[in-house]
């Protein structure tokens, strides 16, 4: 029987493919927000049943991950007037194909890791790996700095899923540690982006090449 969480996780996988294929920043942000919401809901359904504490943590995570961060980025691009295109280094179709291969490879790799998936959620580990690597892929394959920030956040979603698959009890501590990290990271990136924008009048990271020694 298919576990209900597996259904949720397959939505995460779809969101990855969607984010690989989207050419505009708003679309990418929406895909990330969707992914964030699902990722933060997943832990509620695995492990011990639904507790009041769990619901509280989940909702806080969901608000930060699924709403606050994407909204901030969305408002930021509106305000600063950044180009809407994600400026791919590797094209959208090729990215989709790579995404598919990535899912396959992750399922293959997930078996090798030999992590005892909690319950019988067979997709948890492969999805976690796919999200993680997918985030790094966005970092590599997109020139627009905002798209790279989004890639970073996606990576963080992956780390959260990996954490979920490792432990149930101390999850919240780990999660809040990570969230704090992300907030700091996003803030630093905002500052850096502003500096790049001021210096080069664009947030195309390829321009950073001129800083080379």
């Amino acid at each position: 029987m298919i576990h209900p969480v597996d259904t949720l996780l397959s939505l995460v996988l779809l969101s990855i493919l969607f984010s690989f294929g989207s050419s505009r920043l708003p679309g990418l942000i929406k895909a990330l927000a969707f992914q964030g919401i699902i990722v933060s809901v997943v832990p509620l359904f695995i492990g011990h049943g639904v507790t009041g504490e769990g619901v509280l943590f989940t909702s806080v995570t969901l608000i930060i991950r699924g709403i606050a961060i994407p909204l901030c980025i969305y408002l930021a691009i509106k305000k600063v007037g950044i180009k809407r295109e994600v400026e791919p280094i590797i094209g959208y179709n090729a990215s989709m194909l790579i995404g598919l291969f990535l899912i396959l490879a992750s399922i293959f790799a997930g078996k090798k890791f030999n992590i005892n998936a909690i319950g019988d959620v067979s997709l948890l580990v492969p999805t976690a790996i796919t999200v993680l690597i997918g985030g790094i892929y966005l970092l590599i394959a997109r020139r627009n700095a905002i798209a790279m920030v989004l890639g970073y956040i996606m990576m963080e979603n992956g780390i959260y899923l990996v954490g979920t698959s490792f432990s149930v009890r101390v999850r919240h501590i780990v999660e809040f540690g990570i969230l704090l990290d992300v907030l700091a990271g996003v803030m630093i990136m905002a500052v850096i982006l502003q500096n790049i924008k001021q210096e080069f009048d664009d947030v195309d990271t390829a321009l950073l090449r001129t800083l080379k020694e």
Binding site: I133, I136, A206, E213
Partner: protein, 652 residues
């Protein structure tokens, strides 16, 4: 043990407080000096007490359950602690008037912080009793001394010196890591106590790795290259601590590893003796070629490390060939020289510090006649010079004489040991002679004669806190020289705690001989002084005409008619040309109306030259070829990270 940690705590908090108080310059210095010196004093008394009551004291900290830091004070540690705390105590007192620039208040505060860290970490290095504690303290020591070296970071030369020191200390640490890694790999324990169980062949490797690692800290030729750059760059009281005691932690490491490995083959003693002879002779030859006062002293440290190694090596040969009196004489001499060198070298560095602060120049060729205006500094510097040349009645004589005696014991042995013993004796004699030449050069050029520049002409020696350590240290030189018994006992106690003092009774007659020779020399000195006093009394009331030194009856002598440091040393250096190439720049005089001409010379260090040709150039070439990896594209950089992760996940 608690007193020891109390001392460390007081030292560190004294250093940290200066950062808070940096607005009030003098108060900040007073707090820093007071904290550091109080801590050192407590530590010194505690270490002396432990040295004469040889019971080993343990303490361990557990960190994260699995990683424990353990410390232990046995006789050997206590012996080094005495040197560390004594020299640091005097250096911190010295610094009160030496650090005299209120506009550099923050930098002075940072200097005090790292100074206190350096003292604390040195003390922890010699007490650490497991790998973790040792490496942790070792790294703190290297890093804090690095920050002390780049105190005057605005000068590019000092930054370069700091960089060189940083590289050397970390390459050295890497070798130590390798040695400890081997130990850990074979014993599976972080502690030092079961190290003797590893196989014989591995022991050789461990010893060689740790010898290179510790040797690069101690300044053994050819790993000494950082020393003549880093020591002049640091403020003088820091140079005194670094040259006086910090480099001795390398000696401590070699000795400790030797005792832990419980080696029986004569190979190690031979390696150590040969390394000692090479660094001794080359160190003093290069010292002779220097005209920068602190660089000269730094090279001289290389020489003294050589002497210490000769002593230890003779001891090791004595152990492996079953000659207990040779062993005990060699080890005692070497260990006592550690203490002696830390005393007279810090004396000389602090004396040099006063000279440099008052005249603003490090080159002895622009000094001269300083003895007339800086009586205490000059006199104590001369005492330090006599001591470092190994002449009675001062302390350098005692330890070198013991090493000589150890060498003579080895003459009765079989072939290899015989040859090495003879060579050790000969090279000790060469070193002693050259050291005497070197220091007559310094004293003669810088302190006697006539001032060669205006800067050297009007100087004073104000700053009682700078003079007090000099007087104490020169007093210590004399006391150890005249009454060597107590101090030899200290060294013997230190050795017996690690099982190296086989028959301490055999040493008694040698101590007596040494004491007698020193006493005879002292009587000679007292006689000389009384003749001088008699002369003053007899000449009272008579007119004595004075003229310039080296005036020689010329009616118009100029200061240029004196020997310079370069010309004084050139006769000796001519002989050592193959190992100390002289780089001369001379525009010769040509034609009837010659242009203004110039001459400059520099003695090159062959180790430095060859390091540049053999190591630095090929490495730079290689990395130049790999430059394309750094192309500035952030996406590919992230790609590298991804690649590394994947490789690690699947192949490791």
């Amino acid at each position: 043990m608690n007193h020891f940690f109390l001392a460390i705590l007081i030292i560190a908090s004294g250093g940290a407080l200066t950062l808070i108080l940096q607005k009030q310059f003098t108060f900040m210095k007073a707090v820093g000096v007071l904290g550091i010196s109080t801590g050192c004093l407590i530590g010194l008394i505690d270490a002396l007490f432990k040295l004469f009551n040889p019971v080993s004291h343990h303490l361990s900290f557990n960190y994260l359950n699995s990683l424990s830091l353990t410390f232990q004070i046995d006789g050997l540690s206590a012996f080094f602690l005495v040197a560390i705390f004594a020299v640091s105590l005097l250096a911190s007192i010295f610094s009160f008037h030496y650090m005299s620039k209120p506009e550099k208040s923050l930098r002075t505060a940072v200097n005090y912080l790292f100074f206190s860290l350096l003292i604390a970490s040195m003390a922890l290095v010699v007490t650490a009793s497991n790998i973790l504690a040792f490496m942790l303290s070792w790294e703190i020591m290297s890093l804090s001394s690095f920050f002390l070296v780049i105190y005057d970071y605005q000068s590019p030369e000092n930054r370069r010196a700091g960089y060189l020191y940083f590289i050397f200390s970390h390459v050295g640490a890497m070798f130590i890591f390798a040695a400890f890694g081997l130990i850990y790999g074979y014993t599976g324990s972080l502690g030092f106590n079961i190290t003797a169980e590893i196989p014989e062949t591995v022991k050789i490797l461990v010893f060689i790795f740790s010898f290179i690692g510790f040797g690069s800290k101690a300044g053994v030729f050819p790993f000494h290259i950082w020393l003549p750059h880093a020591h002049p760059a640091a403020p003088s009281h820091i140079s005194a601590v670094m040259s006086g005691v910090m480099i001795k932690t390398g000696i401590y490491g070699i000795l400790r590893i030797y005792t832990l490995l419980d080696l029986s083959t004569p190979l190690f003693g031979q390696i150590v003796v040969i390394a000692g002879m090479v660094s001794g002779i080359l160190g003093i030859v290069y010292a002779l070629g220097q005209n920068d006062l602190k660089r000269l002293l730094a090279y001289c440290s290389v020489e003294n490390i050589g002497i210490i190694l000769i002593g230890l090596g003779i001891g090791m040969i004595g152990v492996s060939s079953g000659n207990p009196s040779m062993a005990v004489l060699g080890f005692t001499g070497g260990l006592l020289h550690v203490l002696n060198h830390s005393i007279f070298k810090s004396l000389l560095f602090m004396g040099a510090g006063i000279v440099i602060q008052k005249t603003g120049s490090r080159s002895i060729n622009v000094l001269g006649g300083l003895l007339k205006s800086m009586k205490i500094t000059g006199t104590t510097f001369i005492i330090g010079s006599i001591a470092i040349s190994g002449l009675p009645p001062f302390n350098g004589f005692v330890s070198e004489f013991f090493i000589y005696l150890g060498g003579f014991q080895g003459v009765a042995l079989d072939k290899a040991s015989f040859v090495l013993s003879i060579l050790a004796i000969v090279s000790l004699a060469v070193i002693g002679g050259l050291a005497l030449a070197c220091f007559t050069k310094v004293v003669g050029v810088a302190f006697q004669g006539e001032p060669r520049s205006n800067a050297a002409a009007d100087v004073d020696e104000k700053g009682p806190s700078m003079l007090l350590p000099l007087i104490i240290l020169s007093g210590a030189c004399l006391v150890i020289g005249v009454l060597p018994g107590v101090f030899i006992n200290m060294a013997v106690n230190a050795l017996s705690s690690v099982g190296l003092a086989f028959t301490p009774d055999t040493i008694e007659p040698f101590t007596k001989i040494t004491g007698n020779i020193s006493m005879a020399a002292l009587i000679f000195f007292i006689f000389l002084l009384s003749v001088l006093a008699l002369r003053t009394i007899l000449y009272k009331g008579k007119t004595i005409s004075r003229s310039g030194t080296w005036g020689c009856g010329f009616t118009q002598p100029t200061v240029k008619m004196q020997y310079t440091g370069t010309s004084y040393a050139s006769f000796i250096l001519e002989f050592f040309k193959p190992i100390a190439p002289n780089h001369e720049v001379l525009k010769s005089v040509q034609g009837r109306f010659p242009e203004k001409t110039k001459y400059s010379s520099r003695i090159n260090d062959i180790a430095e030259l060859h390091m540049e040709n053999v190591i630095v150039r090929p490495v730079l070439w290689l990395f130049d070829k790999l430059r394309w990896i750094q192309h500035g594209d952030i996406h590919l950089y992230i790609g590298y990270i991804l690649l590394a992760i994947i490789v690690l996940l699947f192949f490791v």
